[in-house]
């Protein structure tokens, strides 16, 4: 994208686009399911942003092991959700853990979307041999059971935040590619694409400026669903001991560390599970609401 594109799109256009974007969220009011989802997601975003203000304890500090929910610490503050086997405040860990999830999940989704969209645009628009090769590759990756794929990738490249993003990109971009490819196959025969071709615009410009914005509807719904799914993946990897290295709080990891003690201290595993489920539910309900609205128009 060169300066040419910015001169063609005056700033007024951007302002209107942003306004339309905000208005489209107003549409959510028509779907109560979508509203509940949006509220849940917003709640966790606020918690993540204001984590230092909400959490009363250092998430990694050992204070008082095996405290029950509601116990009072020596400092006078209350362990509202109790502490874990190492004496760390569970509420503070959940609050700080929301940052981990809300940073890595969107990052991994964005990365998977970038790769998937580029592959899908190429396969759908160029067609022919490029399409064949890309489709075969994605067929093969998609034929793997997902978690088996994650375990093998993480087992070979090691567990870290960056590697989780890579593994998720590797495993989910083929699915995104398929969706984009299908949308492009439909859109590439439209008049405005033909007009752009006649103007002599480059293939990449047509793909990114003419086709991609018109495919955004289904992609936004899918992105919402996929975000929920990526959060599940990050949680499951943490639960299996393949997630982020300790001690930093990670919801799945918290369940893994304390599940042996669930018999006597159920609060240690219960609260992180409620946290992760509510966030995923938020994204899934939001996706359902958005889909309902997009079908109505």
């Amino acid at each position: 994208m060169t300066t040419e594109s910015t001169t063609q799109m005056p700033s007024v256009g951007y302002g209107a686009a942003i306004l339309r974007f905000i208005k489209s969220f107003g549409l959510l009011r028509e779907s109560w399911v979508g509203m509940i989802g949006a509220v849940l997601v917003l709640f966790w975003v606020i918690v993540a942003v204001f984590a230092p203000l909400i959490a009363q304890f250092d998430p990694n500090a050992s204070i008082q092991p095996f405290a029950k929910p509601g116990a009072v610490a020596a400092s006078g503050s209350t362990f509202w959700l109790g502490t874990d086997h190492m004496g760390r405040d569970i509420l503070s860990r959940i609050v700080w853990g929301s940052r981990t999830v809300l940073i890595y999940a969107p990052l991994a989704t964005l990365s998977a979307y970038t790769v998937g969209i580029l592959m899908g645009l190429m396969a759908g628009y160029r067609g022919g041999l490029v399409d064949d090769i890309l489709s075969r590759i994605s067929d093969i990756i998609l034929s793997f059971p997902v978690l088996v794929l994650y375990i093998i990738v993480i087992a070979t490249i090691g567990a870290s935040g960056f590697n989780i993003v890579i593994a998720i990109t590797f495993a989910s971009s083929p699915g995104i590619m398929r969706i984009v490819r299908g949308l492009v196959l439909d859109l590439r025969n439209r008049d405005y694409v033909a007009a752009a071709q006649t103007r002599g615009e480059s293939d990449w410009r047509i793909m990114l400026v003419e086709i991609l914005p018109n495919a955004r509807g289904p992609l936004i719904v899918d992105a919402c669903l996929r975000l929920g799914y990526v959060i599940i993946t990050i949680g499951v990897l943490g639960f299996l001991g393949l997630g982020l290295p300790p001690p930093d709080p990670d919801w799945g990891g918290m369940v893994n560390e304390t599940r042996q003690m669930a018999m006597v201290f159920p609060h240690m595993t219960l609260f992180p599970c409620i946290a992760i489920s509510s966030l995923i539910l938020g994204f899934n309900l939001l996706a359902d609401g958005l889909r309902e609205i997009s079908l109505r128009d």
Binding site: I151, V236, L242, S277, I280, N284
Partner: protein, 311 residues
């Protein structure tokens, strides 16, 4: 029809070969770190590593090694597990059998449940029942398997004390121990299958032949059973077959949580302990199962759907 069959089987074999190459490159070559270090640990001396490489034939050219490796695989020689100190085959087969039992009961509960719910909500699209079932489906698919395992354990094991908290089957097979793992898998998955069934049913309900069946005065029950269901159940067949692929992921979490001695727990154990031979065998089994179920789904879909079969 035969051409399609051959094409599908050809693609299946192609996929397996590509996957085997990827597995080999990832785990057996220096591409992602030295295999000798992976097996012997970080503190092994260079001399020890060299002896190990020589013993295991790692100093031969890659292509020769791949051919040998694939040949061994094809003839059923899966190598030796480092962790279990025995042939991989002896470890793997009983574990696979256990997972097959778990998978059978999961499907035996999930299929009737999700089909019934899907058909009920697809019969009257947009009705209160439809909305309720769909929101309930979203709710259950939003809870990751490990979280629902925690919730169920809290309720049925610690709260009501009805079911055992682990499923290790240490005193022989006990059906009671199978209930919680199967329940967790069903709860996570039935929402998706129900949604797919609903979509298929809703589409059929708007078709011309259902409308004429209603208009010619057939009882509603007969319209559904004789006319709508036959076509509406073609798509769910494919979806259910594809759930086998998903089940292979699901069992890893559930078996790990409930200490069930199945295939998923074995795969995880192999990867956490760098048991390469075992991990390769597990991964290959997973892919073979996944790809063959996809092939069966494709062929079955063609077979069930006369519109494709006779075109």
């Amino acid at each position: 029809m035969i051409l399609l069959l051959l094409k599908r089987i050809g693609f299946m074999i192609f996929t397996m070969i590509v996957v085997s190459i990827i597995l080999f490159l990832l785990l057996e070559t220096g591409l992602t770190g030295d295999p000798a270090t992976r097996v012997l640990g970080n503190f092994a001396s260079d001399e020890q590593k060299e002896i190990w490489r020589d013993q295991q034939g790692y100093n031969q050219p890659v292509i020769v090694r791949y051919a040998k490796w694939l040949g061994n695989f094809a003839t059923g020689n899966l190598g030796t597990s480092i962790r279990y100190k025995g042939p991989v085959k002896d470890v793997l087969l009983p574990r696979l059998w256990n997972t097959a039992i778990l998978g059978f009961w999961t499907f035996a509960i999930m299929i009737p449940l999700s089909l019934t719910l899907g058909i009920l909500s697809g019969m009257k699209e947009g009705s209160l029942l439809d909305r309720t079932i769909s929101v309930f489906g979203i709710l259950t698919t939003s809870v990751p398997e490990f979280a629902s395992a925690v919730f169920f354990s809290a309720l049925f094991v610690f709260g009501l004390k009805w079911l055992p908290g682990t499923s290790s089957m240490s005193d022989g097979f006990e059906f009671k121990q199978l209930l919680l793992p199967a329940m967790v898998l069903v709860v996570y998955d039935f929402g998706y299958v129900a949604r797919m069934t609903r979509a298929s049913m809703a589409e059929v309900m708007t078709s011309q032949y259902v409308r004429s069946a209603v208009l010619k005065g057939l009882p509603y029950r007969q319209v559904i059973i004789r006319h709508a269901l036959r076509n509406a159940l073609i798509a769910p067949f494919t979806v259910i077959m594809l759930q086998i692929n998903w089940l292979l992921s699901g069992v890893i979490v559930v078996e790990f949580f409930f200490a069930y001695k199945g295939f998923g727990a074995l795969l995880l154990e192999a990867s956490l302990n760098n048991d390469i031979a075992l991990l390769e065998a597990c991964a290959m089994v997973a892919v073979v199962v996944a790809v063959s179920s996809q092939t069966i789904a494709d062929i079955g879909y063609t077979f069930l759907n006369p519109r494709i079969r006779f075109s």
